[in-house]
Subunit: 458 residues, 2 copies
Amino acid sequence: MSENNIPYKTYLNENEIPKAWYNLRADMKTKPAPLLNPGTGKPLTAEELTPIFCEELVRQELDNDTAYFPIPQDIVDFYKMYRPSPLVRAYCLEKVLDTPAKIYYKFEGNNTSGSHKLNSAIAQAYYAKQQGLKGVTTETGAGQWGTALSMACAYLGLDCKVFMVKVSYEQKPFRREVMRTYGASVTPSPSAETAVGRKILAEHPGTTGSLGCAISEAVEVATQTPGYRYVLGSVLNQVLLHQSIIGLEAKAAFDKIGVKPDIIIGCAGGGSNLGGLISPFMGEKLRGEADYRIIAVEPASCPSFTRGRFAYDFCDTGMICPLAKMYTLGSGFIPSPNHAGGLRFHGMSTILSQLYHDGLMEARAVEQTSVFEAAELFARSEGILPAPESSHAIRAAIDEAMRCKETGEEKNILFGLTGTGYFDLTAYQKYNDGEMSDYIPTDADLERGFAGLPKVEG
Amino acid sequence: MSENNIPYKTYLNENEIPKAWYNLRADMKTKPAPLLNPGTGKPLTAEELTPIFCEELVRQELDNDTAYFPIPQDIVDFYKMYRPSPLVRAYCLEKVLDTPAKIYYKFEGNNTSGSHKLNSAIAQAYYAKQQGLKGVTTETGAGQWGTALSMACAYLGLDCKVFMVKVSYEQKPFRREVMRTYGASVTPSPSAETAVGRKILAEHPGTTGSLGCAISEAVEVATQTPGYRYVLGSVLNQVLLHQSIIGLEAKAAFDKIGVKPDIIIGCAGGGSNLGGLISPFMGEKLRGEADYRIIAVEPASCPSFTRGRFAYDFCDTGMICPLAKMYTLGSGFIPSPNHAGGLRFHGMSTILSQLYHDGLMEARAVEQTSVFEAAELFARSEGILPAPESSHAIRAAIDEAMRCKETGEEKNILFGLTGTGYFDLTAYQKYNDGEMSDYIPTDADLERGFAGLPKVEG
């Protein structure tokens, strides 16, 4: 089956794990807009950020110029437990689709957190440990990030406090138990443990929560508890930096088999996977060394890129976080609870937002039922049960492969299979029972979100 | 961390996947006792078995002499989707234990079925397809086997009907949904769909089911539905043959890094993993080429090896299956429902039973709480959340490593990490909440099971 001797799975050797993360910002002509202090409207300084984030992570967050950050050996050693991740040739999916396209996916789900989130979790936990901190706080939506952080903290002996979006906490009790097994404490958000949580509960008693709200709670606890800092699994520049390991490995694996991808596809919630996957390819594109079609895929129920505004906004619902210039639906936007899984964040990485704004990548929104159709087709042909998030990328990859079938083009399609769906069986059950529904916010829904955008020049 | 340049994970290349399964029986001086027809008490012929099993599988089941069976290319291609599986050096666990022992594990959980069961599922489904059958029936306990078979059948376009032990069906609704996603039908057992199920329900209305009972139902449906055959995920000779891929890969990987294991440890329910893992090593031992300590680890709640009888018994509760000579607790033995996960079968592979009887391997029983202690320690140090079944082997591996710490011996310990615990979070939750209990059957409990043993010369 494997023509040209391209294996099903291409693994790098452990000594080929990249030694440095790649900072895409260094090659961007238009840098992402800086974070602003919501009080002063001025760009945030390192001093203002260090009460929230670890010092080294603040340095990584603000550095738009250094192209490569060496990966500390301890992190490389941790990476060796589950990396390099395989670049997989989807021979069986190609056969089922009967397409001339060659489909590849970079599979990040072969670890207990079930996704790529572990790549940044270990980095952020490592720097917290280096700084002599006692613990970290964070939020989690679908649960992958919280699980990843729990694993990293257990490994390093750090305390870990997770605020979990209430709808996920209830739909995914097993995610909570994985985190507890790794020693983390898990609180449904909004909670009565924080001022911001109590305020949101008072205003919206029946709320199912949102990532933005959970972020507010985690930041409040981190800044008010000595020896703690806040860590975030997506959106931030530092996260995309750590996640560049995905793209760097993928590129090295492609080089090994002598293939160049034509189309690169990733799902997009806050941008951590997409930003990491595309980074070295986008770098080549920015430097004029190569060209790629790059496609962000988001849920039609939370369409930041395709229907959002490119504006300064809060990253959190409680409006205590810095302002970021990004494609956003407004920090008050809460996606319908009938949307399964992650990709529920109202905003988007500032890096990716700038790249999209500059026409360097495409974006498309897909509906939930068609996403699960793609997920089922993929599971049955390639074996792996994909995460709903990842299945957005599968949907687009299948669509592109079917387009190749029409045109006869043998394009090389790469997509990011960010994780597995083992904790998303409630959603699969709905799909299996024919009870899954699609939801697209109306223009009026979106206008309500936009009405809350802060007035900022930028 | 990796002294001697031994990587964390040793992967074979895809072209190094073994081309043939190894049949351990060929090297056994005392062959396993033959299956008997329960009606006549005579060894079963191929003709008698073909209404139950596929023809090629019957051939494999009865062949005690052929050392190697070539693996069909289609199965090798399927294997390439998730194999070769890694041989992992547990550097982080060794560090936590502060042991001079070198710990390795062969990790079979990196596929959606979550365990090694897929190795035999694809083989059995393949031969059913080759024979032109419409579908297969089976039973599943913890759910790994049913999931594996669903995946294999989805891939090949075969119908798949699974009887799932009722206690697992209720405790693991998500396992059921994975199987449904792969297109299988799943029925809780005992059910009203079969004569044997109705009989058991009438006699034991509150029963939580057992593997033996689910087997009876699956066999009944297979033998009474045209175009169907029955397949089984453990115990049988053919299953151990297919699972030899685990040991063959492990041995090839050890050869690659120039290491020879001293102690080989596997959990034992029906014997599919243990038999597969040890096969080439046991082969060397049988041929006098090398020596290894081989340890079977079973739950104290279902102690076939350590407290069972070596006798002819039914493989199923309904007593419609052939008689097998094995270590058994009696086909009427139903383990306490407080035992989590698999390893609930009352009997044991006839091959392993004979080897144990001949003093070629050891066995030990471990209690549930200590198993989950080992699981948690492993998860926090090595990252992977292990299946409860696999954690029996982890328990023994840790115990052996701690013994090395006392004696200062640098033994090489290999254990089989058969799968992941992502669908066992109900059990982990009990452990996290301090509500897990141990259960050891009394001698009187066992005598009740032995009282049901059939009277057979053998």
